[in-house]
């Protein structure tokens, strides 16, 4: 195998000011590169993309591969997959990392398939082991387990990482990096999917990932009506409301408020968890919370074991109690 040790990070910038996932992965790639003695390379496809090239260098990229062409102005799944696959075949990176945006979740499986290599979805951590292999750490088996996964033979080793999983490095104004401009290759196939309409429409609850206080609720809150109390508590505490999947499936709250592998990854200073048992898909997304208060009737619920303070009581009653207490304590 003649792969070099380069770690590639796909530059996913369409939502740059809201999703900083590329910068977060670059930061992690830099610490991985320190171990495997490779370079961190960002890839940018698009048109008029200078600002992203500069940003990626300032956030840790040693090298940026750029295809800057009018044809690439809009994100195109098939075209971008074709370009990324071709480049990976030609330049043979050791590792290829992609942000788990919806776009990333579509392109990474295609490229992995085309390269006949493995792909681990939604990693919560990445390490280099003593053999120089990428260890992809991800929740698995639908239970309360975390799996360590490797790709022993095929290359590149590929993983997607959910936004919010790693911290970006501070902007380094003195950083220098190599910019490699690439021409469009021959034979790009016509896109078989046509975009009829595309309008920017941000989902609500964008503050969840940035909030210092997050109030989460599960089905233990009892009903949609009782769940609404969480919004009152959030308003009193300057926080945001998050939820588990059963709650979202039951339409107590919209999908944009889902905390978990399939939703938002949060890192609040204080997390309140009301009536949540704590399946791994949910808890994997809140491991960065500084201080967790969990309320559940069942003292053995996973969420209670993860908490700094585990309150064994009815979630709904304790929520009302906290609302009363905060109302009394806030100084006017």
């Amino acid at each position: 195998m003649t792969t070099n040790k380069d770690i590639w990070v796909l530059g996913d910038y369409r939502n740059y000011f809201r999703s900083r996932v590329t910068l977060q992965i670059l930061a992690r790639a830099k610490s991985l590169a320190a171990k495997n003695c490779g370079r961190v390379c960002a890839l940018v496809f698009g048109h008029g993309v200078d600002e992203y090239v500069g940003e990626y260098i300032a956030h840790g990229a040693d090298r940026v591969y750029v295809m800057d062409q009018p044809r690439l102005k809009e994100y195109s799944l098939e075209t971008y997959s074709f370009l990324l696959t071709g480049l990976a075949k030609r330049l043979q990176p050791d590792i290829l990392l992609v942000g788990a945006t919806r776009f990333g979740q579509e392109i990474a499986p295609r490229v992995a398939k085309a390269l006949n290599t493995g792909l681990t979805a939604d990693c919560i951590d990445l390490e280099i082991d003593e053999n120089g292999r990428l260890v992809q750490i991800a929740p698995s088996f639908g239970g309360n387990l975390i799996a360590r996964i490797v790709t022993p033979r095929a290359r590149p080793q590929m993983a997607t990482v959910r936004p919010g999983t790693f911290h970006e490095l501070p902007h380094d104004y003195d950083a220098t990096g190599e910019v490699v401009n690439l021409d469009l290759p021959e034979g790009i196939p016509e896109d078989r999917v046509r975009c009829v309409r595309s309008a920017y429409k941000p989902a609500t609850a964008a503050g969840l990932e940035k909030a210092d206080i997050v109030i989460t609720g599960g089905r233990g809150m009892g009903s949609k009506g009782k769940f609404k109390k969480l919004f009152e508590l959030a308003r009193l505490m300057n926080g945001e409301v998050g939820a588990t999947r059963p709650v979202v499936y039951s339409n107590w709250i919209g999908h944009e408020s889902l905390v978990g592998q399939a939703g938002k990854h949060i890192r609040p200073k204080v997390l309140f968890s009301f009536g949540i048992s704590g399946a791994i898909q949910h808890t994997a997304a809140l491991t960065d919370a500084d201080f967790i208060v969990a309320v559940n009737k069942n003292p053995n619920a996973t969420m209670m074991k993860l908490a700094d303070v585990a309150i064994v009581a009815d979630a709904n009653q304790v929520c009302s109690g906290i609302i009363r207490a905060v109302r009394e304590k806030i100084r006017d």
């Binding site: 499986p109 999917v193 920017y200 206080i213 009903s223 109690g321 100084r331």
Partner: protein
Amino acid sequence: MEKKTFNIIVCIKQVPMVSELPWNAKTGTLKRELAQGMMDPSSRTALEAGLGLRQEPAPEGQREDGAQDIRITALSMGPPMAEEVLHQAVALGADRGVLLTDRRMAGADTCLTSFILGEYIRKFEPGTDLVLCGAQTSDSETAQVGPQLACELDIPAVGWAKDIRLDGTVLTAERHVDDFLETLEMDLPGLVTIDHGGSAPEYAGLAGVQAAFESSSVEIVDADRLGLGRGFNALKDSPTRIVDVYTPAAQKENRVLKGTAKTVVDRLFKEYGKIISSAMGKDLKGE
């Protein structure tokens, strides 16, 4: 004009019943009957999307009674017990079920799973017009098999669709991804993964499932029939390998408070009020 049947394959996964999975929103109880294994909710939504196309008016030249002649095959790969979700799919309206099951297929990662599903479709269902998958199954949540199956079959694909419409052989999909509301269209054959979109699935009554069980509408296909070869071993042939699994260790102080709601709330603010007020950015009395 010769009537052409429109063939849809819906990929359906049986997933374990874990603590965060569907419960009856009306009665607030768990679906105990599904404790062993259940139809993945996003697969269920994909099946409903396929069934929904039957209700659409037929394109010109097709049936005059307003319904297209659509044949829906529910396709699953998994252990023998996964047959159950295919009977359920038939009870819900699929014309037939096909289960790809064999010890040699066990342990396949997404790359190999999409290969096996693709082999079946290539060899046994070459006239497939549309493949539907759940966007993200509830157990592993990788969202990878759909896009990889599209690559395997070399057909165009749209991911995370909320709504699909069919006009002849042109499929239109609406989706909301990465803060963009999009309308996409493609010529069929193609593949669409359906986003669950937050609706709570209703399950078929047991009577319906029983009736479906009594019919012989589920076909079992093993590795030999698929022509996967003697040396085929999904676990060994998958590009990824699981090194080990572990339970995330609790690293917290894990203080346990018990008592009435008033008692525990008082103690919470007495002992941890500073942390809470600091995160709130508000000054609280008594801290």
